[in-house]
Structure formats: structure tokens, C-alpha cells
Symmetry: C4
Subunit: 239 residues, 4 copies
């Protein structure tokens, strides 16, 4: 189990700040084409990954933390602490955006601000789309941790960012492309709009559990070639 160290504290702080930044600015994006929407979220993921991958690995998304735990890139306890930080960070980030742009009086109107809604009929199609889109993000991360990429990961933030752009564009018409449970959870709670919330919370997590196992036991034949990711175990004192 990870000792409560200063190093770990910094890494958790990084996850909190990164989640806050992405959720706040992402929800601040107003109205525009799906292309502008996609490049906003993609650009924010580039910033977050670039600034914090050195220190915490820049998971930002609980799905990535789950995948990291399965691939043993991060310790299980650390992973849960990361997810807690992401939960808190995205809550604060959403709150700032909500107070500023979402409503005139806090907790007043039900504006559906920044809520991801299912716009495809029937609803279960959004479920499949979310599974695949989150899967794409998770697979992109899995490959970035592979030992053949250990040395050369400088452009990883660019790649993840453009993957998010592409995935956001595909899902924009069906499910608003969540890919992150917390990104949809807070807007849903504040708007008291829980329609299909199980899709946005559930499917990304299912993808985040299934795909790393497939990666580890099918693609890598269980050989555990996972690189020690930046900011991960390497900096932990107990190793």
C-alpha cells in the first residue's frame, strides 16, 4: 500500500487541478459547431496531459485510472485516490463554470447546463457508441504505456488530444460524447436531470475494465510489458 507521502500528495493535487481545469474550461465552451466543440475538449486534454503527465501521469479521466490499475502502471490504492481527486476536481471545475455561465442564481433554474443528452433513438444506441468511443481513448492510453513507447512519449499529449477530437466528432450527434463518468455526473446532479445517466457513468467504466484486460492478456499475451508511466510507480518510495 502506498505510504502517504509528499510525492503522492503532489500527484493527487495534479490530478485534481487537471480535472478542474478540463471540466471548467470544457463546460465554459459556449455554443458552436461540433468541430469547435471537439477542438476545445481536445485542446484542453492536450494542455492537461502536457502539463501533468510528468508528475501524475495526467489520467484526468477515472477510466484511465482504472486501466492503469489493471495494467499495474499505478498501485490500486493510488488509483482510487486519483479517482477521488478527479471526482473532486471536476466537481469544483463544473461548479465554477456553472456559477459563471450556467445560471443566474445557484441551484435555481434547471438549465441542463453542460449536460450530455442522448439524441439518438432508441437510447441503447448511445450506450454502444459510448462504449466504443471510451474504448478508443483507453486503447490509445494503453499503447502510450507500452514499453516500446517508453522513451519516445513526447508527442503523447498531441495524439491523445487528436483522438479526443475525432471521438468527440463521431459521438456529437448521438450522445454528446462523454467518455468520462465525472464529466457527465456533475452536470446531471446540478440540473437534476438523470436521464440515461447510467449510460454516461456505466459504459465508460465497462470499457475501462474490459479493454485493459484484453490488452494485457490477448495483445501482450500476459507478458506485462507495460512501461512504468511518467509520474507513476517510479517516484514511489516503497519500490
Amino acid at each position: 500500500m502506498a505510504k502517504w507521502s509528499k510525492q503522492l500528495f503532489i500527484r493527487l493535487l495534479c490530478e485534481l487541478i487537471a480535472s478542474l481545469l478540463v471540466q471548467f474550461l470544457g463546460c465554459s465552451f459556449g455554443q458552436g459547431s461540433s468541430l469547435a466543440y471537439a477542438f476545445s475538449w481536445g485542446g484542453l486534454i492536450i494542455v492537461g496531459t502536457m502539463a501533468f503527465r510528468i508528475i501524475s501521469g495526467a489520467h484526468i479521466n477515472p477510466c484511465i485510472s482504472i486501466a492503469s490499475m489493471i495494467l499495474k502502471n499505478i498501485k490500486v490504492l493510488d488509483g482510487f485516490l486519483y479517482m477521488l481527486m478527479q471526482l473532486v476536481g471536476s466537481a469544483i471545475g463544473f461548479l465554477i463554470a456553472y456559477v459563471m455561465f450556467g445560471s443566474n442564481t445557484l441551484f435555481g433554474a434547471n438549465t441542463n447546463y453542460c449536460v450530455t443528452t442522448v439524441t439518438v433513438d432508441p437510447w441503447w444506441k448511445a450506450l454502444i457508441i459510448e462504449f466504443y468511443l471510451t474504448g478508443a481513448w483507453v486503447l490509445a492510453f494503453c499503447s502510450s504505456w507500452h514499453e516500446s513507447n517508453q522513451e519516445l512519449n513526447e508527442s503523447v499529449s498531441l495524439k491523445i488530444g487528436l483522438v479526443v477530437v475525432g471521438a468527440t466528432l463521431v459521438g456529437a450527434q448521438y450522445s454528446h460524447t462523454c467518455m468520462n463518468p465525472f464529466r457527465s455526473l456533475w452536470p446531471a446532479i446540478f440540473s437534476m436531470n438523470f436521464d440515461h445517466i447510467y449510460i454516461y457513468v456505466g459504459m465508460p467504466i465497462v470499457a475501462a475494465i474490459l479493454l485493459p484486460f484484453a490488452w494485457l492478456y490477448i495483445y501482450l499475451l500476459g507478458e506485462e510489458e507495460t512501461a512504468k508511466g511518467p509520474g507513476a510507480e517510479v517516484k514511489n518510495e516503497e519500490e
Copy 2:
């Protein structure tokens, strides 16, 4: 001839999954500007290349497998197995998209769902456009296999992805930019719309045969400087 090994099985599985993912999500993209269309397909190629290049080389497109065989980056039999997997993968991927978004009743309506159509007059202009666009993709891959790029291929997924974005934009108005025989084959079969299907199946293959020979015997003067691509021969036991 390649032995039927576990390694080969994984590589074939990767091609199948990558083709399924790109075809499913690409066909799931609904309506939007040609720019959003281009970034969707480009982003998916980035995901596929990023996730699977380590293991199988991430051909995704049979044209790339043909070019790989000619450049001896992959064995001839493996190449044909790759193409078989791409055929099956894109069939499954298209089927999922078709059931979800293409029609209410399977095999019911003739909706031209995800079909690439020739919108330029006369039709043979689309043929020339497809030849050049596929040629651009094939040349980009040829250069990514060159030995001077053997060490530094981390951003190859980004480059291929943006090449697909640019090529898709150019062809969008004339031929919907196929560049991959299987990408057009399945939508044509399910819609029973075989207009100009020979353009989409034929021209990419012609480009995929001619350009690697030009690359090998003209540009490289027949010196076979082709790097052993990631996931290719290196992992084969008979070497």
C-alpha cells in the same frame, strides 16, 4: 510460409479489431461539414494506428497490406491473412453501424447508408482522384517504413491521421474519398448499390501495387532499405 502461431493470431486479431473500430465509428458519423467528416476519419486512423501499430503494424487498409508485401515488410501469406481480417473486421463494423443507424429493419430499406458515391461528372474523374488520394496514403506509409525512420516513429499515427484528413477534404466533393476498397464494399453490398464500385475497389488497389514498386525500384534504387515495421517480421519465429 508463416507458421500458425499465437503471435500471428494476435496480429490478425488486431487488424480485425482495428478495421472493425474504424469502419463502425466512421460509418456512425452522421451529418456534418466535410471538415468534421475529415477529422472524424482522420481521428479514427490516429486511434487505430496508435493502438495497434506496436503489435500488427496497424495496416487497417488492404492497400497498405499490399504495399507491405511488395516492400517485404510483411510476408506474402501474412499479408493475405491481414487482408482477410480487414475484410471481416470492416464487415462486422459496418454491420453494427448499419443495424444501429442505417435502417430500422435489417436488409429492409435501400438507404445508401455510408455508401461512397461519385458526385463528379463524368465518372472517370473520380477514378483519377481516388488513385492519387490512395497514392498519398500509401506513400506516407512507405516513408514510415524507411530505415531512416526506424527509431523515430512515435508521431507516425499523427502524420498518417492528418494525411487522411487532408486527402478526405480534397476528395469530399468528387468521390467521398474512399481510399480503402473494403470501406466502400460493404456499404455497397448492403445497399445493393454497385454504381461505380469498380472505382472504389479497383483504383486503391492499383495505387497500392504501382507506388510501392516505384518507391522500391525508383526512389530507393532497389536497395531494400525498408525497415522491419513494428509488429511485423521481427516477431515471427521462423526468421
Copy 3:
């Protein structure tokens, strides 16, 4: 204190030229979607960073020079000289754009040419948005100077450029996304329109001061792992 050397003179010249180029071409961008606006500024930052990072570090923005001084990537006096050059460069760049496209008679009409205006109500929301957007840019630069990125900084211009694209898109609807005091200062002076100018001049500087301290003392635990940036101290004779 830095000697007035030929090396320093060249670095200062680079900052002047880079600021001139970005301000002139950025302000020359006419009308278009927020996406085209974002890619114009982002593309210019790529050019500037690519061309001048080798020699001067390509700060372009005084916020980056302030962050550099705090992280000891550059000497304090050099930093102030950099900022002076940026001020002069963006003045010249703006003047060229203004004479060409901003007015028929210089100093004649009050056209609000290239002015960043607050379009969100109330005004203090723009202040928060500018703080976070500038913060994203500053953090991206901080990470590019970290020693783990010392070897591999070739794609830094791409990453910074796409961060600017994403940030510009987010802020486009609220504050026109300044992120650089001088970028807004000169248009305001020439149009004699000083509405909310304290936001555009003040907040980026606040972000530029707070975030590097957080980076240094919180993230890096005060260990000064800052790499000697390209074109920075390394070339100074007194070291």
C-alpha cells in the same frame, strides 16, 4: 547581470521579430468562424516557436518571460529586456496591420480594430476565463522546460500551438481570448477603447506569476528541475 553581448542582441532581435510576426498576421486575420480564428493564431504560434525557440526560446508573450524568470530559465534582466522587445515588436506588428487593414487614415477613425472585447455579462467572468486560459498556456510552457523534456522537445511548437487553438476556442465567446497583455494593449491604445483593459493586461500577468511558483514549489517540491531552455542561459557568457 547579463553583459550586453552580441548573443543577447540576437536573442532580443528574435523576440522582437517573433512578436511582430504574430501580432501583425494575427491582427490581419479578418472575419471568419471562431475555429478559423483559433487556427490562425495557433498556426502563428507554431511558426514563431518553431523558428525562434532555438535562439531565444520564443517567449513571444510577456507572461512566458515572467514565468521563465521565476523558473530561473532566463536571467531577470534578460527577461525584462525580452518583455521590452515583445512590447516594441507587437507595437510594430499591430501598426502595420492597422495601417493596412484597420483604417483608411491613420489615427483617424475609432474602429476597434483587433480589439479584444468582453462579450460576457458581468465583466468579471471574462477575468476568470482569461486567468485560466493564460494559466493553461503558462503551464504548457512550464512543462516544456522540465528536465524530463530536455532531450525531446521537437514537437513543443506543435503542442503549444494546439493549446492556443483550444484555449482560443473556449474564450472566443466571452473575452476574445487575449492571453497576452501586449496583444490587447496596442489595439486598445489605437482605438482609444480602454474598456476592461485591466482584464487583458492584468489577469495574464497574475497567472504568469502565480502558476510558475506553484509549479516550482508545489509540483517540483522546490527541486529546481527546470531544464536550461533552448536559447536561454546556456548561450550566456557569464555562466
Copy 4:
């Protein structure tokens, strides 16, 4: 003087093919937003640079060949042969596009097909814009040849491509962003529309001559730190 060798022949062929490809597909791009226009040309420059930089350096543009000669990255005679190939290549490329999409009968109608026109008033403003935009491209190339980038030039095609995207967006409203004399020359000849052709032929060449001298004697203090570019002198037998 360069011997007429097989190596040189291949390099010249590469320049011819690259210019043909970019001019043909660029002119084939039909109608669309300036953003789609910019990403089409940018994507084509990525393909061309990616595929041919290994062999010939992928100048594509005579301005780059002029800059290469001044920086001694390529021999003077080779540079002129490169330019001849670019002239022939873009002529063939334009001709294919013109026959296919520009007119029904060759040399028949004056359609202004693919012509770059000055849309800003007065005309000399386009001249200044073209100077700066071409200058940005030339400076980006100069930096890619600097010895500090000799090892790490894998993402150079991406960077040049996005620089072209940004520059094209800025100039789209004023001068259609030529940046390459031959790109505008052939459309002008075929349409017999020579309005302002001196801007498109002249200014890029002026920028291509002035900026490399500034780079060499001002930025680098005349120290000739230019790296031997890929495909350049290294492969020449007389060295």
C-alpha cells in the same frame, strides 16, 4: 558542380512528383470554407514532406530551394534543377486538375480556375501579406535545418503542414495565400489572367532571398550551423 548521377536523378524525380501531387490535389479542392481550404493544402504539404523529405528534402516550393542554396544545404546547381522540376511538376499537376475540373474544353474558357486573386484594396497590401506569409514558411524550414534539429526531425512534416494551415487562413481573405510562385503561375497562364501576378511570383522570391540571409548572418552570426538536410548533400558523391 553536381555530377549527373542516378542519385540526383531520383531526387529531381521526387521534387517533380511532389510538386505534381500537391498542385494537382490542391487545385482539385473545390469549394468550401477557408478552413477546409487551409487543411487541404496543409494536409498535402504533410504528405509531400513525409514521403519525399528522406530522399530529396521535399522542397516542393522554389522559395525553399532558394533558401536551401543560401544556407548551403544544397548545391547551387542542384537548387536550380530542383526549381526546374518544381516548375514542370506543378505544370503537369495543374494541367491534370484543369482538364478534369477546370474546363470542358482545354484552352477554351477563361474560368480563372485555381487562380489566386487579390481581394484586398489597394493591391499592394496583398504584397506585404504574401511577403510575411512566405517568410513564415521559409523561417520554419530554416529552423528545421538547424543542427540542433538534425536528430529529431520526425515531426517536421506535421509542423510545416500546420504552419501552412495557419498561414493559408490568415491570407485567405486578402490574397488567397499563394506562398509559391509556381502555384500561381500556371493557373494565371491557363486563364490568361495576369492581374497582380508579380505579387505572387515576386514577393515569395524576395522573402526566400532575404530571410535565409537574415537567418545565417544575424541569427546564427554567420556560423553556418546548418545541418545537412535529409536527402541533400550527404548523398552526393563528390563530397
